[in-house]
Amino acid sequence: MTNKEQSPIILLGTRFLSPYIMLFGFYVIFHGHYSPGGGFQGGTLLAVSLLLVRIASGTEIASLQFKDYLATPFAALGVLIYFGTGLVAIFTGGYFLDYEQLPIPGLEAADLRYWGILIIELGIGLTVMTVLVLIYDNMVKGEDYA
């Protein structure tokens, strides 16, 4: 990366804007049961809140917000959350991804499906967020290396 002068206005502006975009991303994920939205859209908004700081202030300052080596394990963790939900449903006696068989006590079948959908949406959001950050980080590093 070339060393240009960094504008404090852009730096503070993106740092001010980033938490609100992140909050809206969580709203889109958790409100996906009642309005348009879900894991893919909310994960993209979460990635935007991280990429804004990365583009404006460089990788060093942005790594205080989200470490770049955490991106790949979290992407794999998101896939494992989704796949593990299906496997738990198999081990407790149902079909693959049959949320009625999830071992959460005190809920009826329809509410178990409600919470099962929320769990997999969180897994999707985690994967989409970290993969978009991972693609940006890898492109920037490839630019440095070339």
């Binding site: 348009p36 790949t72 992407a75 896939v79 991804l97 329809a110 509410d111 997999i120 970290t130 993969v131």
Partner: protein, 106 residues
């Protein structure tokens, strides 16, 4: 050649407009896509989704129930596609420096 392209475009536009003039109205209750039974006599699955989605999952958004519950294996495939795309950028872009450095050392 130019007039031939123009002629092809005009003919294709005529065909599309002729086909579009026979489309049914969107909210018409007599449409085939709004019927409970298809042309071949089998029951349409969308009928079941609209009627039973809230009772099955207590979620008002039918699209979320279809994507997350009824068709959840398809959504798992989409997530794995995105994860694979991230891993491919990891493999293509990140290891270049280390390979060049090793070859320089050797």
């Amino acid at each position: 050649m130019k007039y031939l392209k123009l002629l092809i475009i005009m003919a294709f536009t005529t065909v599309l407009l002729f086909a579009a003039s026979d489309l049914p109205y969107r909210g018409d209750a007599d449409n085939q896509m709004n019927q409970e039974v298809s042309m071949t006599g089998t029951e349409v699955p969308g009928n079941y989704y609209i009627q039973e989605a809230y009772n099955d999952a207590h979620t008002p958004n039918i699209v979320t129930v279809i994507l997350g519950d009824y068709r959840s294996i398809d959504t798992l495939g989409e997530q794995i596609v995105i994860f694979t795309a991230g891993l491919i950028t990891f493999l293509l872009l990140r290891n270049r420096k280390e390979e060049e450095g090793e070859s320089d050392d050797e």
